[in-house]
């Protein structure tokens, strides 16, 4: 028998899709039974009360959570997000209901043993409710009380080799695509770069000194599986310098229908015979492909590495051999006030494991120095770039403008000539001019 009646929430179980309400009820029932006989460290009916307060919020049309608080674990300025209910008498189980952000491993590779340990810990010291994974990428453990925080942190850091993630005005938990572990499109080892920078910038992750949040995300190729271009202040997208490798035999096999296009995806219906002209060549955004006399050619100078042709015919077309990454800056996906995509800062940089990714760290630290000094409180990097100008940022980090920074004449107002860069400067001899030109 449910502790609180939840008619409004119950409606959310009526559709054909999975329902978080059903999930919560299942967890509530599990805690009520407590078959394993755990000494539950936070109220047994925490999930019941969560359902109750949510129902009340639906009824009132407003939230019953307060905002923020002084919680955390010793020495860390992030990783725990304090949440308190403003109806603690009605819902004592969720009077404290803090969220713990747990750093996910690079590429989200776990052993089932590790997951089981995490879940056991959370059943014991938390609500048992998890979110795998939050949009930050972290493992999100939802709902515990203040006294449990240090205990949880101790257990994770001492016995599970597991750190907390980022929150607040910190470097947020860096996130990456699965990369070279499973994906042949990966132009660099996303997991190694992500993990290395996570370790390198521990201080930035755990001790807030930024104007606001800062996110790194790593995509092995422009397919952008972690959507770094839209979701991170600094986005590392794999790319290549040389030519797309063409296997002419495999092209023939695609055209002849022996190999299924798109790696066999979208196979739910009959799309008819594969048409290389219509499905690949004509869809190339820069029009740099040709299929003539049964031969596919690419004008690689014009290719923007959009990945379309490679995705369509992965066995015939492969990324180049001279690989590295592009660095983009300034994306944000805020709830209020316009989302923004990343702008290209470094068209190509080698991703060099051997020197500890020094070239990449130089760019990162240059950007941070500028933003930490110039950024207003709660101003994201992308907003600072807009306010002071892309050119200001280039000067601050010591990168010369290149054609890739200017999208096309006039559609990017960021880059301007300065007087000292122009022969003769801005001034002219008006009398000399008037000799040839009437007023």
């Amino acid at each position: 028998m449910a502790k609180h009646k939840t008619p409004l929430l119950d409606q959310l179980e009526s559709g054909p899709w999975p329902s978080f309400v059903s999930d919560l009820k299942q967890e509530a029932a599990k805690r009520a039974k407590n078959e394993k006989g755990l000494e539950l460290q936070i109220p047994k009916d925490v999930v019941e009360d969560l359902l109750g307060v949510l129902e009340l919020s639906y009824k009132h049309g407003k939230t019953h959570w307060k905002h923020g608080g002084i919680v955390g674990v010793f020495g860390y300025g992030g990783g725990v997000i304090g949440r308190y209910c403003d109806q603690p008498t009605m819902f004592p189980g969720v009077a404290h209901f803090h969220t713990v952000r747990v750093a996910q491993p690079a590429g989200k590779f776990y052993s089932t043993e590790h997951l089981r340990k995490l879940c056991n810990l959370w059943d014991f010291r938390g609500s048992g409710i998890t979110n795998m994974h939050g949009s930050t990428g972290d493992i999100i453990l939802i709902g515990t009380t203040t006294p449990q925080l240090e205990e949880i942190f101790f257990e994770m850091s001492h016995n599970m080799n597991q750190d907390l993630g980022g929150s607040g005005s910190n470097l947020r938990t860096p996130a990456d695509c699965i990369g070279q572990a499973r994906c042949e499109y990966a132009c660099y080892d996303t997991q190694d770069l992500c993990h290395t920078l996570t370790l390198e910038y521990q201080d930035e992750l755990h001790r807030p000194a930024f104007p606001y949040k800062f996110k790194f995300k790593f995509d092995g190729c422009p397919n952008c599986c972690v959507a770094s271009i839209a979701r991170s202040d600094m986005s590392f997208i794999g790319t290549w310098k040389d030519d797309i490798r063409i296997d002419a035999e495999a092209v023939k096999a695609y055209v002849g229908g022996e190999i299924k296009p798109n790696g066999g995806a979208h196979a739910g219906r009959d799309w008819g015979k594969f048409d290389i002209q219509k499905e690949v060549v004509a869809l190339c955004p820069t029009g740099c492909m040709k299929y003539e006399n049964n031969k596919l050619t690419i004008n690689n100078r014009e290719c923007t590495r959009c990945m379309h042709c490679i995705n369509a015919m992965p066995r015939a077309l492969r990324i180049g051999k001279e690989t590295g990454c592009s660095i983009l800056v300034g994306a944000k996906a805020p709830i209020l006030d316009g989302a923004q995509m990343g702008s290209l800062l470094v068209p190509f940089v080698e991703v060099n494991k051997d020197d500890g990714y020094q070239a990449i760290k130089d760019v990162v630290e240059g950007i941070w120095d500028w933003w930490m000094e110039e950024g207003k409180n709660r101003e994201r990097l992308g907003e600072l770039i807009k306010r002071q100008g892309f050119q200001k940022m280039l000067e601050a980090v010591g990168i010369d403008p290149v054609p890739q920074h200017v999208k096309e004449p006039r559609s990017n107002p960021y880059i301007f000539w300065k007087e000292e860069e122009v022969e003769g400067g801005w001034t002219r001899d008006i009398d000399a001019f008037r000799k040839d030109h009437m007023r």
């Binding site: 905002h67 608080g69 002084i70 992030g78 997000i81 009077a95 807030p208 930024f210």
Partner: protein, 80 residues
């Protein structure tokens, strides 16, 4: 500037503002110390470690304050 001097500066400045303000952005603190952010960070980290300052977080934004000051502590039924 050494740690003791930095601490003195921060505590004096924060106490003076306590009537109107109890939580401060990192920038406010590096401003008080008149240092570049990265340099100020070392001193401020140490003050947190020593319990001279404490963090406050909304989840998306972090702020700093003297321990136990401000509305939050009382309003959230926290002893400390």
């Amino acid at each position: 500037m050494d740690q003791a001097e930095a601490q003195e500066k921060i505590v004096t400045a924060l106490k003076a503002k306590l009537k109107s303000k109890s939580k401060f952005y990192f920038n406010d603190l590096s401003g008080i110390l008149d240092m570049k952010p990265r340099e100020a960070k070392k001193f401020i980290n140490k003050m947190v470690e020593d319990g001279i300052l404490e963090y406050w977080s909304s989840g998306s934004t972090s702020m700093y304050g003297l321990p136990g000051t401000g509305k939050q502590a009382g309003a959230e039924h926290e002893e400390k």
